[in-house]
Symmetry: C2
Subunit: 345 residues, 2 copies
DNA sequence: TTTCACTATGTACACGTGTACATAGCCTAA
DNA sequence: TTAGGCTATGTACACGTGTACATAGTGAAA
């Protein structure tokens, strides 16, 4: 492992000149620069990143928190949808980081440590910033009060160095309902994920609002809440079907929930989409392979990953604009939605 | 940000004593130790990890390479199955790292840089070791020749500080065939993933071997190769069905491929499992939600993540045993396999 | 009392880099 | 010629920690 000292000796200059030649900014004579680069090449020198981080007081590293912190079995406690969704976002965070030359750090050591040390713990690692795919209220507060540039995803954390990014769940649910309305549906059921989660609440509200704007009064009996997974959505759909049959379409809180609802409908002998139309949310890959393939509202994972990194970089560079970014969703029409049946039920 | 200097001043001792008190090993008087800990608590001191890494010449960080390196669009170039499979392994790597207090580093900055600098680039970041979920031959060689402890997953890289972990694809395919044989199937088709990949080759060979051991001669016409995805497997199955109908079971190279095959079978009016049984490979989550739910060979993602980290730690600690770890697979019987039909076809 | 072993602690250097400041050399303008 | 400015470069300190070595103090054995 060659050091800049050896490069300097070989090039016949001082270590300071080596540093200046490699980091560009300061003026160095063309001749000295050439000798330094020759020495670097011949020794295969690479600067010691840890030493650079120490003296520069920062690093080109972004901390990423992918897993909920209150669990020793991370992903299995995630809801099924968010698992696939966040991993898709991570993919695009990484892709963007590649372009900008940033590394990604999963600060696993923070699990089980006191929350109030979280930000400090990241600071001692000199991370440039932080992207939180999961965060409880304590960590949000801890980060906001620190000086670490932070971007929250799907959590509304905001501060002088922190902001957030989320999908436009409100408009997304509106797109789903609008699509169904345009197909002639009037009695639309909602099987929504937990409204304790912001996403669950927004998706329900967005649907109801669009319904109301079309002059259709809300029917509380057609709104059911369930956990964000196949099994609970299946149960919720079965319960709904046991009580009511007067709807022609269902809006699901997520694609996984739609899979459970689809099964419940099919078991009751209802055909999708001839008897009942069904719309999911997320556009996970499996949507294409259900029968029928699922019409859904796509969350833009590419944009979320990319914009999270871009927004973070601006914060790292000192930007003071901490207005949140709301990413548009997109209706993807497949085969689970069709015209409303002529005679109501 | 308090430093050990301030802790020392407050505790009325020297910085060396602070360091000794916190790092435990050396002998410090009980009184001094107590004063140091009191000062640490009152200042909220946390040691600077970057400075520690510099002086200790290593860090508690494991580099993880999740994405193929020859691509600026990483995951989208992954086959569908390996995408979900490797992310599951990553989950368990992280889980294990939490327990051991290691951070995970995604060295994104290495993309697009010359391969021969890869290991050195990790060294300048003082990583303790490296887990490669993807690696081309050049990187394997580069890492093996370096002194960085490395564990490859599904690549047979081995060296004085490097070894590998993989699923027992051979035995796994055997389990699939054995299951079908026990149900009375004799004419079994194979739609396998690319045999350029080790996994594809092993899964085909393992199936054929088990068949041969039962005295059933191999029928080359019942073996088809396709890409590792739904669409190509669907096409391969359609082509097979256009030529032959004399098989009662299909072994797929992966679960995603099984989904495509299932569709092709269904479109031909064949019932699964009444007319044709179908076995997948991987046990991705979606297997439970196809109709019928898919019988498959489960790869043990929990064990692979956990053992990859454990094996790496032993290498970091200086172990010289670099024998590979072959993780057993498990047959998961669901509804896509049943008794062979009485009259052959 | 003297010697020796042992414990607790402080001093000083090392890790590998960036950069403020000083300085030597050179050119230009007066 | 001389003063002044500008450029290229070297010196020395800083980043925050770990630890080898030296040393002062203590107690026990002779």
């Amino acid at each position: 492992m060659a050091t800049s000292e050896e490069v300097a000796r070989l090039a016949g200059v001082s270590r300071a000149t080596v540093s200046r030649a490699l980091n560009g900014s300061a003026r160095v004579s063309a001749e000295a620069r050439a000798r330094v680069h020759a020495a670097v090449a011949s020794l295969g020198y690479e600067p010691d990143v840890v030493a650079q981080n120490l003296v520069r007081q920062h690093s080109r590293t972004i901390a990423v928190n992918l897993f909920p912190e209150n669990s020793d079995h991370p992903l299995s406690h995630l809801s099924q949808s968010s698992q696939y969704f966040y991993l898709g976002v991570l993919e695009n965070i990484e892709r963007e980081a590649i372009g900008l030359g940033y590394d990604l750090l999963f600060p696993s050591h923070t699990y089980g440590k006191p929350v109030q040390n979280y930000a400090r713990s990241l600071q001692t690692r000199r991370v440039a910033g932080c992207i939180m795919l999961h965060a409880n209220e304590a960590r949000i507060q801890n980060l906001i009060q620190s000086s670490i540039p932070t971007v929250f995803i799907d959590k509304m954390g905001q501060g002088s160095h922190a902001t957030y990014i989320k999908s436009d769940n409100l408009a997304g649910a509106g797109q789903a309902v609008q699509h169904l309305l345009s197909l002639g549906h009037k009695r639309i059921a909602f099987i929504t994920g937990s409204t304790v989660d912001l996403a669950g609440l927004e998706r329900l509200l967005g649907g109801q609002q669009t319904l109301a704007q079309s002059g259709i009064s809300s029917d509380a009996g057609l709104v059911r809440q369930s956990g964000w997974n196949v099994e609970q959505a299946y149960e919720a759909a079965k319960t709904l079907l046991a009580e009511r049959h007067d709807f022609t379409a269902v809006v699901a809180g997520s694609d996984f929930m739609a899979i459970g609802i689809l099964r419940a409908l099919t078991e009751q002998g209802l055909r999708v989409p001839e008897d009942v139309s069904l719309v999911g949310f997320d556009d996970i890959e499996f949507c294409q392979y259900t029968s029928p393939p699922l019409t859904t509202i796509q969350q833009d994972r590419v944009a979320m990953g990319r914009e999270a990194v871009h927004k973070l970089i601006t914060l790292i560079d000192g930007a003071t604009d901490v207005s949140p970014l709301i990413i548009p969703t997109r209706l993807v029409v497949r085969k689970s939605t069709g015209p409303a049946p002529e005679n109501g039920e």
